[in-house]
């Protein structure tokens, strides 16, 4: 039951074959069973059951609020949730209970969705492994899957578990381990697509400005977007329809000219042109990822789509451009954390300055602190032109690269999402956060720099039994069109549902009226 899509389980709820409270209880049980994944920081059991009861009432009366009524979901812990602890996985916000909810969270709640918990992440969303959290790292559920364990030489899963990716690893783990049907992540440089890819999920980064950032604790204001994680493309489209739209509280949202609310009934893949950017043949890419990329290109070609190689010449500069701008905005956004109005406050109070300095040193981990220092350096008057302005100019060139390619008749671009399948935690932590981020974000961050929509779709399992995924990049505000192509791709690939050794046959075969 828990591995059903939103569409399937929603239909079951509406037809009365399943009760919302039963569904919620199952998810909460699943959370308990998968505690070792460390996917959740806060589990909102009582609240979830209450919401489920309310949903059940509406459903039995035949008056659901919509396709998400009664559906359990989780939210990355950098989204504000009213009166529910929101920590950003940092000491700085331990014990912080926001007095308001993020717009995207509220929209889901208003549709009757059931919030089961707040998920783990890299501290303040800085990282690509979900390994730098004060609550400990997140484990990829596939570490315990039949496919991985079968080919692993280790007996003890605690020694060779793999990372979930980051920074929205907890959200990915929640959906991939089947304790949530959908999850909100955030995506600044790939933080939703990266864990989505490593956990074998559909993860959508919408166009910048399509979804409201009000209540999303910012990393880089000019690149952050709320991300959607589901197990099918259709589910992602359902959630997108609920969340998209101008928000008065966020001045960077736009009313896009025409925004379809669902995937089209008819779609002919022969109508589209797929671009394959040659600069995305990165040196660190695994052979299997490369093979999948070729496989899917061939899929499109065989089906009659136009496929052509394209060039995004400034790609090589993107990662540095991204890092400079990211550090600058981080330095600015983190300036508010001084312990005065909220959050951690140091006991040192010899002077205001001492209070500030100690609070910030105690509250932030070294990743956050180093980005703040770098950002302040770049923003100094003497450095501003050379770093910040230069990076913005490069940013424009990168954006122009994409625009030119789309203008030449390309509808979507097809690239890998990550360099390979999920790394073992013990291997991943051999390099520091900065190095890993620079490596892992290579395919994802140019999309954030340009503000475009992109979605990762799982394609196959690797020889290690772990998901490999590919990324589709679309044009600005053509998110539904992007998902339409992704939907076709998903249907061709038939990526397997995750299986665990302790799954009972009953649970696995519970496919209600699909």
């Amino acid at each position: 039951m828990l591995s059903l899509s939103i569409g399937e389980v929603s239909a079951a709820l509406r037809k009365g074959r399943l009760s919302a409270t039963e569904l919620c209880r199952r998810c909460l049980n699943r959370i308990r069973k998968t505690r070792h994944l460390n996917a959740y920081i806060t589990v909102t059991e009582d609240l979830a059951m209450k919401q489920a009861q309310e949903a059940e009432l509406r459903l039995t009366r035949g008056k659901p609020l919509g396709p998400l009524d009664g559906i359990p979901f989780s939210v990355k812990d950098n989204f504000c949730t009213e009166n529910i602890e929101t920590t950003c996985a940092s000491h700085m916000l331990r014990g912080y209970f926001p007095p308001f909810s993020a717009t995207v969270v509220q929209k889901l709640l208003d549709q009757g969705a059931v919030l089961v918990g707040k998920t783990n992440l890299d501290e303040f969303a800085m990282g690509s492994g979900s390994t730098d959290s004060v609550f400990g790292p997140v484990r990829n559920p596939w570490s315990y899957s039949v496919s991985y364990r079968e080919q692993s030489r280790e007996q003890d899963p605690d020694s060779d578990w793999v990372i979930a990716g980051g920074s929205s690893g907890g959200s990915a783990a929640a959906v991939a381990s089947l304790s949530s049907f959908m999850a909100l992540g955030s995506d600044t440089g790939g933080s939703t697509r990266n864990p989505g890819s490593l956990c074998g999920l559909v993860a959508l980064k919408p166009t910048y400005g399509l979804l409201s950032r009000h209540g999303l604790i910012p990393l880089v204001n000019s690149m952050d977007v709320p991300g959607i994680m589901t197990r099918t493309v259709h589910d992602a489209a359902t959630v997108l329809d609920v969340l998209q739209g101008r928000d008065e509280k966020d001045s960077t949202t736009v009313e896009s000219a025409y925004s379809p609310s669902s995937l089209p009934e008819e779609f002919d893949v022969r109508d589209i042109c797929v671009g394959v950017p040659k600069e995305y043949h990165a040196p660190g890419m695994s052979a299997e990822t490369l093979a999948q990329w070729g496989r899917v290109v061939a899929l499109f070609e065989r089906a009659g789509a136009r496929v052509k190689e394209v060039s995004l010449p400034h790609t090589q500069h993107s990662i540095v451009c991204y890092h400079v701008l990211c550090c600058c905005e981080v330095a600015s956004n983190m300036a508010r954390f001084d312990g005065l109005q909220y959050g951690h406050r140091s006991k040192v109070d010899s002077s205001t300055e001492a209070l500030y300095a100690t609070t910030r040193h105690e509250g932030f981990n070294s990743v956050v602190r180093s980005r703040i220092l770098a950002g302040n350096y770049f923003l100094l008057k003497q450095n501003y032109d050379r770093y910040f302005v230069k990076a913005q100019q490069i940013r424009r060139l990168i954006t122009e690269d994409f625009r030119r390619v789309f203008q030449s008749g390309v509808d979507v671009l097809l690239t890998p999402t990550t360099l390979s399948d999920a790394a073992r935690y013990s291997d991943f932590i051999q390099e520091d956060n900065r190095t890993r981020s620079a490596q892992e974000d290579i395919f994802t961050q140019p999309v954030n720099v340009a503000g475009l929509p992109a979605v990762t779709v799982p394609t196959a399992l690797s020889s290690r039994g772990l998901p490999i995924s590919l990324q589709l990049i679309g044009q600005s505000f053509q998110d539904m069109k992007l998902l339409t192509v992704a939907n076709w791709m998903e249907q061709q690939l038939d990526f397997p549902i995750i299986r665990f050794h302790d799954d009972t046959d009953q649970e696995r075969e519970c496919k209600l009226g699909s």
């Binding site: 916000l93 209540g215 008065e248 509280k249 001045s251 600058c328 600015s332 001084d338 005065l340 008057k381």
Partner: protein, 476 residues
């Protein structure tokens, strides 16, 4: 923002004080008269209990985003228009970073790169000349007007070694007006400030009360020999009332002149005006070389204002934008224009026009009297200046509290004009009207028996009576 070039200390010891002239520029922060703050909907509240008007954004709660207040944009445009500025069709917002307890975000949102209005001017007048009764007209250039956030307030409690923060003011919209260094002394600066206050109050964009912090003036002061490069400037802060503007600036000019005369050099520093001693004192410059690390505000797209409805692009709702022509059409009569009109239309003295425009509602009062009386405006103005204002000032009343209405005064003047009473009698009647506003003029004249007698027989009888009762004087 005002640039003063550094110069070397005077090495000619014979140069005396009078050759050095003051150079004064002003940075004025005017609190925008609006219901809510610049980027949040918390109320702009004066004298409210501490921290009772604080939106989530004002407290810098993470995840909050600024939303621009339309009224504040209009106020800045209106003020810019009144000061002959070029309104920038596109302007930008920036973050100015520094840590201070009354600024929770660790940065202030301001307009550093491209402010909303530039290159304006303010014409002001002040009383100069040897007897200070000459109305002298001056012009000061307005470099720019920018929108920015106000900070909260901090109170230092040294006894308990703590600082108390009140965020009611945090986020209130400010217009920062920069006046170029076109002024040369305290009187000029004070007059410029006074005229700006009047203009802002007339426009309704700022209530201009300095003691309540609605208008804050910082002065950039330096001295130089005319023709020579500008001297090193100091910034003078903590000028808390209009009357201190002149005192603080003049003190600082004198101080700098003395320093230079004695062979010293001026240090570029910030000094605070101490009203008790009437001097300026160096402020603890804990910031040292402050680098504000300006960065564009990423949560606010560029601000566009449009000329008129025709220039609003397709797809943009005209009700959602600020249009300059609409605001231009609604500009009220500015003080300078009104003064000129008063002198021109009513032939009153310029000094009187100042008083008329300075007092809230006095022009309207005066004009109503003029409309309702046969007496010449030049006569009316005398009554308004002496009798009316005299009484109001003596009893510390506002014009709105005057017991004598414009119509009543007009009545009195009509009676005077017709010759029924003498002017000295009229003054007595006026005082009685003040005490008993419900009584009509004619009634009071009768009661006080102040009517002029023009009947020849009656006059003869009175004279005869006087002669009869004072025989001694008659014989002499």
């Amino acid at each position: 923002i005002v640039t003063h070039l550094p110069s070397s200390p005077l090495h000619n010891e014979t140069q005396t004080l009078w050759v050095l002239r003051g150079v004064v520029g002003l940075e004025i922060h005017a609190q925008i008269h609006a219901t809510s703050k610049l980027f949040a909907c918390s109320r702009v509240a004066f004298c409210s209990p501490p921290n009772s008007s604080v939106a989530f954004l004002d407290a810098s709660l993470p995840g909050t985003l600024p939303v621009l207040n339309r009224r504040c944009v209009e106020a800045a445009v209106i003020t810019g228009l009144a000061l002959n500025c070029t309104i920038n069709r596109k302007s930008l917002f920036d973050r100015k970073h520094y840590f201070y307890a009354d600024m929770p975000a660790g940065y202030q949102i301001t307009q550093q790169r491209l402010p909303i209005a530039v290159n304006g001017s303010l014409i002001y007048s002040y009383f100069g000349g040897r007897k200070r009764n000459q109305v002298l007209s001056r012009c000061v250039r307005i470099k720019q007007i920018q929108l920015e956030q106000d900070s909260g307030k901090s109170l230092h409690d040294d006894q308990r070694s703590q600082t108390l923060i009140d965020l009611n003011r945090a986020g209130v919209g400010l217009m920062e007006l920069v006046m170029e260094a076109d002024m040369s002394c305290g009187d000029e600066a004070a007059a410029a400030v006074r005229e700006l206050q009047l203009i802002l109050q007339t426009l309704g964009t700022c209530q201009g009360n300095m003691s309540e912090g609605q208008l804050r003036v910082d002065a950039n002061v330096s001295v130089h020999c005319p023709g020579e490069p500008l001297g090193v400037r100091t910034e003078v802060k903590n000028i808390n009332s209009a009357r201190y503007v002149a005192r603080a600036i003049d003190y600082e000019i004198q101080r700098q002149k003395k320093v230079l005369e004695n062979g010293g050099i001026i240090v570029n520093e910030t000094r605070a005006f101490d009203s008790k001693s009437g001097t300026t004192i160096p402020m603890r410059d804990k910031e040292g070389l402050q680098d504000y690390r300006f960065m564009p505000e990423p949560n606010l797209p560029p601000l566009f204002v449009y000329e008129d409805e025709a220039s609003v692009p397709a797809g943009v709702n005209p009700t959602q934008v600020v249009m300059i022509d609409r605001l231009k059409a609604e500009l009220p009569e500015l003080p300078g224009v009104r003064r000129a009109r008063m002198v021109d239309q009513y032939k009153i003295l310029p000094e009187h026009s100042f008083t008329l425009v300075n007092e809230d509602g006095l022009t309207e009062y005066f004009e109503r009297v003029v409309r309702n009386t046969k007496a010449e405006p030049r006569k009316v103005i005398g009554w308004v200046m002496k009798e009316l204002l005299g009484n109001l000032n003596q009893q510390s009343l506002k014009l709105a509290q005057s017991p004598v209405s414009p119509e009543a005064l007009a009545d009195l003047l009509n009676v005077l004009e017709s010759g029924h009473i003498s002017s000295s009698a009229a003054k007595v009647v006026f005082q009685e009207m003040w005490k008993a506003p419900e009584k009509a003029v004619e009634q009071l004249v009768k009661e006080l028996d102040l009517g002029l007698v023009s009947d020849r027989e009656k006059l003869l009888k009175i004279c005869q009576k006087v002669v009869d009762t004072h025989p001694e004087q008659v014989s002499e």
